[in-house]
């Protein structure tokens, strides 16, 4: 894979930031403004119908809102005020469509070459190597699995040498096992991508694991933007996402794989035992810990089946409308969230600055809630 990655490094000579904004009421209501730095991955999250795909289409030149501005490195692609509207084929974007939209009559290699300024079979082969499709260049899309088609679509998007890479629900049509693999591959690729990347997804897990920053959309409106920690602290964002999606992201390093089928990881807050991971010792991963899976205890518990006990200090307690409260805990410099009942918090007499132990069942962390790569640090 090394030479292939080098080929990627040679591409995209100058990295530029992407800026996009739009305001429209009809036919599709839109109200957003954001900037994506070179090499940054921004996830647009929201329920279906929240307008996130329309945002992507606006950037790509497939949709024109009433008032909108899209620019890359300060160069305007779209500016309704100035009458600038570059056609889609003149914007240097790489797009991975939800259903890949591969050209059915062309082989994988020819699909990739179609996006090149001058068709280069060797370059196409290198890109296919890069997305782990070595030797499958002659296959037509119909002869490839969903995951393989997704990889061809990614290689084709990269072949365009895009100034911005746009991914529209790229993992929604593949099975869970393939998705986990693709997450790791995307994260590995990311280190070499110099352009801004925008990922549209309805899957909060995906967004948290892959993105540096999130934008939460609701009914076409951007309701919140920031790192995972910032978004999780925003009540409006939580309402838009659904409270059951609240989770913290913890960096962890793989220490060893144990004979009983667990993997031991080290985090700033203590040791974690998780179901066996396919990652070598020393690998840094991001673990998504769901707020509703965390139990709190004042004393360090003993005689408990749960193996993961992380010590920390309460930083905030946020009460909502319902019977639950959200407890924010600083565990070794990283935030853990626990969603417990208001009754429990009152009975325990929990206060800000109290020392607590956060308890997590190993088996409650799903395999696809772990991905290689360290999470972005909060900018607050």
């Amino acid at each position: 894979m090394a030479p292939a990655v080098m080929a990627l490094d040679a591409m995209a000579p100058e990295a530029m930031a992407l800026e996009a904004m739009a305001q429209a009421t009809a036919p599709i209501p839109l109200d957003f403004a954001f900037r994506v730095e070179p090499g940054e991955l921004l996830a647009l999250v929201g329920h279906s119908g929240s307008g996130k795909t329309t945002v992507l289409r606006t950037i790509a030149g497939l949709w024109r809102p009433t008032v909108a501005r899209v620019s890359i490195g300060g160069r305007g692609w779209l500016d309704t005020a100035k009458g600038v509207d570059l056609a889609a084929h003149r914007r240097r974007v790489g797009v991975v469509f939800q259903n890949y939209a591969l050209f059915p009559h062309l082989s994988a290699a020819r699909n990739v070459m179609a996006a090149m300024d001058t068709p280069d079979p060797a370059g196409a082969a290198r890109l296919l190597d890069l997305v782990n499709l070595h030797g499958l260049g002659d296959r037509r899309p119909a002869q490839l699995s969903g995951g393989q088609q997704q990889r061809v679509a990614l290689a084709r998007a990269l072949a365009r040498q895009p100034d911005a890479l746009l991914l529209d629900e790229p993992f929604s049509a593949v099975d869970r096992a393939t998705r986990e693999k693709l997450y790791s591959e995307i994260l590995a690729l990311r280190a070499h991508l110099k352009m801004p990347v925008v990922l549209v997804t309805h899957d909060m897990n995906e967004a948290q694991l892959l993105a540096d920053r999130l934008v939460v959309m609701d009914k076409g409106r951007m309701v919140c933007t920031g790192t995972t920690a910032q978004v999780m602290a925003d009540p409006t964002a939580l309402r838009a996402m659904g409270i059951r999606e609240v989770a913290a992201l913890l960096p962890a390093t793989v220490v060893s794989h144990l004979p009983d089928g667990l993997t031991l990881l080290e985090t700033p807050a203590g040791a974690l035992f998780l179901p066996l991971l396919e990652a070598a010792p020393g690998t840094v991963v991001r673990v998504r810990i769901m707020a509703h899976d965390v139990i709190l205890s004042r004393a360090r518990p003993e005689g408990l089946s749960a193996q993961n006990i992380l010590a920390g200090r309460i930083t905030r307690i946020v009460a909502g409308q319902g019977p639950a409260v959200m407890v924010h805990i600083d565990a070794g410099g990283h935030e853990i969230l626990a969603r417990i009942t208001r009754r429990a918090a009152e009975t325990m007499g929990l206060q800000v600055a109290d020392q607590v132990h956060a308890i997590l069942k190993s088996m409650s962390v799903a395999r696809d809630h772990i991905a290689a790569g360290a999470p972005a640090q909060g900018g607050d």
Binding site: G61, A88, V95, P104, A114, R156
Partner: protein, 222 residues
């Protein structure tokens, strides 16, 4: 066997196809991709020649392109002869009469190209023209091919319009279908039979070849 009439018919069918091929691609594609208020009316007008009796259609062609019409008058001044009762006149009528056969199947062909695939082509940097050649046409090809086969076979067998617009001038406007009619009128049943059988054979061969070709394209895309 009236070879002159057969070759005239083949020549007319060939020219009609040559003129209608680009027209069917461009207008079929345009109708497939665009929605507008009067689309239903436009589609109905394209289909009109299909439902009109050929004699009625030929009658209006005579009116539209005859000596007393603006078009006929202009043609006379430009070329020094009338448009009606000439090969060119036949060709004009044939092109218009075949519009539904040329446009409808092509439109269906382009409608079958998924919109995401077209958008992907644009996002790959393909200009609309290159997208047509590299992506859309290879996918819409079965529709366009069907259109051209229909036009060819239909022109070969057309009778009413040709008779109205062209008369029956040997070597100029007397096509095989009219020649067959003449033979029957003259009680030459054997001549009519040979020519009819030839026409059946040509039509059958054309359609069979098309089916085989589109099956091959289908397999290639499979």
């Amino acid at each position: 066997m009236d070879w002159t009439a057969l070759f005239l018919s083949l020549r007319l069918a060939g020219w009609t196809v040559a003129i209608l091929l680009p027209l069917s691609i461009l207008s079929g594609r345009w109708l497939a991709y665009h929605r507008f208020r009067a689309k239903g009316l436009v589609e109905a007008m394209v289909m009109l020649p299909l439902v009109l009796p050929p004699t009625v259609f030929g009658f209006y062609m005579l009116l539209a392109f005859g000596r007393n019409s603006p078009v006929g008058d202009m043609w006379l001044r430009l070329f020094g002869h009338q448009l009606v009762f000439t090969f060119e006149g036949l060709l004009v009528a044939s092109v218009i009469f075949n519009l539904p056969f040329a446009i409808q199947p092509a439109q269906r062909g382009f409608e079958a190209v998924p919109v995401e695939v077209r958008e992907a082509a644009a996002c790959c940097g393909l200009s609309p023209w290159r997208s047509l050649w590299k992506i859309e046409l290879p996918l819409a090809w079965p529709g366009v091919l069907t259109a051209m086969v229909l036009v060819f076979s239909h022109t070969l067998g057309e009778f009413g319009v040709i008779l109205m617009m062209g008369g029956s001038i040997p070597g100029v406007t007397k096509t095989i279908a009219i020649s067959i009619y003449d033979r029957v009128q003259g009680f030459d049943m054997q001549g009519a039979a040979i020519m009819s059988a030839t026409l059946v054979a040509i039509s059958l061969a054309t359609i069979t070849a098309t089916f085989m070709l589109s099956a091959r394209i289908g397999r290639r895309l499979g």
